[in-house]
Symmetry: D2
Subunit: 283 residues, 4 copies
C-alpha cells in the first residue's frame, strides 16, 4: 500500500493543521500518521504527515503542484516523499568493522529500507567483508596531500551512482567543507562519545581519564565543524572503575552500532527534520 | 493563558483530523499541541488536542454543545477539559512513607497540578508526616470484618469532597469491586514489580528468589482484578547477585516513587486515554 | 601471559579467603583479580580468583593436586581453568538470523574467546549465511515423531566434536530432559521477554496485549522446565502505545542479540557460577 | 553486630591480599565483604574489607596499632572505620528545594546513616522546610565582598560541630580554595549535567540549545577547579525535541536528587576511595 509523506516546517500560524489535513481529506486521502511539533520559542511549526495514495484523487506526479499554493501561503519548507521511493546509500569505513557489519546485516535483512550501492574505504582491510555480503567495495587511498583530489573522485562516484545518503561507519577522515556542502544533511556520522563531551580524538581514553561513570555514543549529521552537527540519536552504558580503556571500547562498540543504525533507519524512513542545528525525530 | 483540551477516541475514518482541526481553526483557536494515534489492528482513532481560548469565538460553556454534532457524526468518546480546572486528589497510604513523601513534596512544590485534599490511611503511623505538610489526615481502621462498611465511609468522604483522583501510595489493602466501580480509571496504584512479573504479594522477595538481573515498578489504574489494570508507566533498575532482598527493596523504593509520580502528573494533565485495558499516553 | 582461574563455592567459614590467597602467594602467584561474594541467607561463600602462572612454583598440571587439600578442608565445589584453554562452541538456530549473525560476527572478530565449531539447525534457511562465515552447518530436520532420535544424533555430534557450550540463538525447539542433562549449565538460551514475565510462546504479542511500557530479553541456562533456568543477563527497552507488535519484535531483536552475546562472553571467560537456580556473575 | 572496615590503596605487589586476609583470619575475624581492584596501568592496589569485631582478638582501639606494620611494609594509604561510627553531616543549599527535601527525607527515614547536624543557606527561603524536619538552619548571607569572611564563619561552625561531610544540595556559590582545602574529599556537589559536558552555568539551557537526546546529572567531590572534581555517580534520562528547557529542568530534578543521594550514601558507608581525580566505588 503506497503512501505519501509530507515533511513540513514553517512559521507557526493559526490554521496550518486544518489546512494541511483538509487538503488531504478533501482529496480522499486517508491519514495514517500525523505528528506535529511547535517550537514556541522560535515560533516554528513542524509536521510529518503520511497518507494512503489508494483512493487519493490527485495523481502522484501532481501532488506537489496541487500542494504548492498552501506551501506558499504559509511560507513552508517542505519535502514530499513516497513510500515506494528507495534511497541509494553509500557507506564510508576505515578499519573498524563493527558498525559496517551491523549495517551490512540490516540492509541484507531488509530492516533498513534502502539500496546499499557500495562501500568506500581509505584502507583495503574490509574489502573481503564487504564483498562477502555481495556489495561493491571502492578503495580510495587518502593522504594529507591528495585529500581534496581524492574527495573529488568520491563525489563524482557518489553523484554518478545517485547516492542519497552517506553513512560514516567509523570513517576516520575529516571531510572537507566542499564535500559536506555537496551532501548537506545527508551524511550521518557516529561519534564514540556522548556529545558534547569528548569532541574529537580518543574519546574513550579521555572518558577513562576523567573517570566518568557512564559512556555514550552519538549519531549526527556532518557539518563543517567537527562533531558539532545536528544530533540524531544518543545512547549510553554504565561503566565503573573496573573498566579499562579496552573495556570502554568494547562496551562502546555495542552502543555505536545501535545508535548509528537507528539514525540511518529514521533518515531512510523520512522521519527527521533538521533545523537550527537540531533534529526533530518523528518516531 | 487558558487552554481547552479534547481527548477523543472513535472508530478510524477518513477526514476525522481535518474535521476536528477545522472546527478549531474556523472558530479562531490556536492549536498548541495535537497528538493523534491510530490503532490499526482495532481501527480506533485517538487524539489529544489543545488550543488557546484567547480569541476563540465560542464561549467556554458552549464548546461542548458546539462540538457535539462532530462527536455524534464520528461516534466519538470524548472528554473536554480546561487548563484552568484543577482536580481534587486523595492519597491512600498504609505504613511505607517514601511514595507519600514524594507526592506531598511534589504537590507542595507545585509540580503536580492538583488539589491534594487529604490523606486516608488504615494506620496512624503517618499522621504526623501528613500533618507536617498541612494536609488533613483521616484514619480508617480496616479489618476483614468491617472492610465493606469502612469502604462506604471512605466513598462517602471522597464523594463529599469531590475527589477526582485517588492515588494508592503503597496502600496495602485490596479495594472491593464496588469501590473500584465508583472511581473507574480514577484510582492509580503503584505495584512494586515489573508487571506482569510478580503479580501480588512480596514481589521483591520473589524477584530475589528467581534471580532476576533487573527489577521494576509499575503504576496502573486499578480494576477488579489484582494488578491487572491498564499500565500507565514502568521503570527498571539493574540488580546483581550482590543485592539482598533489602537492597532490592531499597533500590525499588526509588523506582516506585518516580513511576507513581509520573502517572499522577500525566493523569492530572489529562494526558492519558484508557482503552482495551491499555493506556495511550500523550506526552 | 597465561593465568589460572579458580571458581569456588563452599559453606561460608572463617579463614577461607586467607587460605586461598595464601596458597597463591606462598607459591609465588600474582593475583590479578579476586572477587568474592557471600550469600548470608544460605551461608555460602563464592569466589573467582585469577593469578599469573609466570613465576608460579607449581606446574600447571599439578595445581589441582596441590589445591585439593584446601578444597577438601572447606568442602569446596571448584573449577580450575586456564586462560589458554579455549572452549568449543556449537550454535543451534532455526530461522531467525539476528542472533546468529551477531555471534558469527563476534566470534570472527575475536571478541568472543571460543572455537565456534559448527552450527546446527532444524531448517536449511540459514545454511548460506553460516557458510559465508566459513563455519560448518549441520541440518537436522526434527519432527514430533523423530525428535528423540534426532537428538541422539545431535548429542553424538556434540560429544564427538568435544563441544563445551551450546548456544540456542533463537532455536525454536524444546530440548528433552535427556539432552539437557548431558549439558547441564552448558546450554545458553535467549528468551525474548523479561522473565519471569511472558514465559513460553509469543511473548511480544502478549506484551503488546498487556500494554507494557518496557520490553526485555533474558539469557539463561536451559533446564528441564521451560524458561525457568538460572538467569544470566537481562536488558530492556522502552516502548509506547505507538509501537505495534512488529515494532516490539524489531526493538526486541536488538536486545536479544546483545543480551545473548553478553551471556556467551561471560561463560567463555569463566565468570559465571550457578547455584540454587541463580547465577553469580563475576564481571 | 559491629564491624571494622579497612579502605586501602598501595603500590600493587605480590602477596598483599594474603597478608591482609591472614591478619584478619589469624586474629579470629570473620570477613563479611572483601572487594579489591587493581589499576594495572598505574600499578595500584585498592581494597575495601569488612569483618566482624565479635570474636576478633584485638580490641577496637588497638587494631590500628596492630595493622600498622603491614601498612608500612606495603606503603599503604589506609583508613580504618567502624560500623558504629556515625558521621556528622551539614547540607548547604540556596533556593532550589528538591535535593534538600530528598536528603531531609532520607536522613529522617534512616536510609542515610549519618547525623544531619544542620543546614546552611545563603538565602532564607528554605528555613521553614528545614525546621519542619526539626533540623537547625543557619543563614549566612554571602556577597562578593564578604565571601571570604563569611566562609571563615562557616568553617568555624563546621569545625565546631565536628562536621565530617558537607553536601552541596544545589548550592549556587563557588567555594574558595581555602574552604575546599579544609574539607578535601569531604564536600559532595551535584552538577546538573552529564559531566564533562556543560561544565558551569545553565547546563539545561545549553543542553537544549545543543539538541542533545539525553540529559544527565553528576555528583562529585569538590576541588579547586569548577566541576572538575572526582566523579562519584552519574545518571541520565532521555529527552526529545518536544522537551522545552523547563521540561529538561523538571526531568533533571528527578535525576539530581537520586544521583546526589547515592553519592552521599556511599560516602557515609565508607565505600568510596579517591585517587588520581577519580573514584573507586566498592558497592
Amino acid at each position: 500500500m503506497e503512501t505519501a509523506i509530507l515533511l513540513i516546517s514553517c512559521p507557526d500560524r493559526k490554521g496550518i493543521l486544518a489546512r494541511i489535513t483538509s487538503f488531504i481529506a478533501e482529496n480522499g486521502g486517508n491519514i495514517l500518521h500525523a505528528d506535529q511539533h511547535i517550537d514556541f520559542q522560535k515560533e516554528i511549526f513542524f509536521m510529518r504527515i503520511e497518507w494512503t495514495l489508494d483512493g487519493f484523487k490527485i495523481p502522484k506526479d501532481r501532488i506537489e503542484e496541487a500542494f504548492s499554493p498552501i506551501a506558499r501561503e504559509f511560507s513552508m519548507n517542505y519535502q514530499l516523499h513516497f513510500s515506494s521511493e528507495v534511497q541509494n546509500v553509500a557507506i564510508f569505513v576505515s578499519r573498524y568493522d563493527h558498525c559496517l557489519y551491523e549495517l551490512l546485516y540490516r540492509f541484507k535483512a531488509g530492516e533498513l529500507k534502502g539500496n546499499l550501492k557500495f562501500v568506500v574505504s581509505n584502507h583495503t582491510d574490509l574489502r573481503s567483508v564487504v564483498e562477502m555480503f555481495g556489495v561493491p567495495f571502492y578503495y580510495f587511498p587518502k593522504t594529507k596531500e591528495n585529500k581534496l583530489e581524492i574527495e573529488e573522485k568520491e563525489i563524482e562516484l557518489l553523484k554518478g551512482e545517485g547516492i542519497d545518503l552517506i553513512v560514516l561507519a567509523r570513517y576516520m577522515q575529516i571531510l572537507s567543507e566542499r564535500f559536506v556542502n555537496e551532501f548537506r544533511n545527508r551524511i550521518i556520522n557516529i561519534h564514540h562519545s556522548f556529545l558534547p563531551a569528548f569532541v574529537g580524538a580518543k574519546p574513550y581514553q579521555r572518558a577513562y581519564e576523567r573517570g566518568v561513570k557512564i559512556i555514550g555514543a552519538t549519531s549526527h549529521y556532518v557539518t563543517e565543524e567537527l562533531d558539532q552537527g545536528p544530533i540524531i540519536e544518543q545512547d549510553v552504558v554504565r561503566v565503573s572503575h573496573r573498566d579499562t580503556v579496552d573495556d570502554l571500547i568494547r562496551k562502546g562498540r555495542d552502543l555505536e552500532k545501535i545508535v548509528l543504525a537507528r539514525a540511518v533507519r529514521w533518515h531512510l524512513e523520512n522521519k527527521i527534520l533538521v533545523y537550527d542545528n537540531k533534529t526533530v525525530i518523528f518516531d
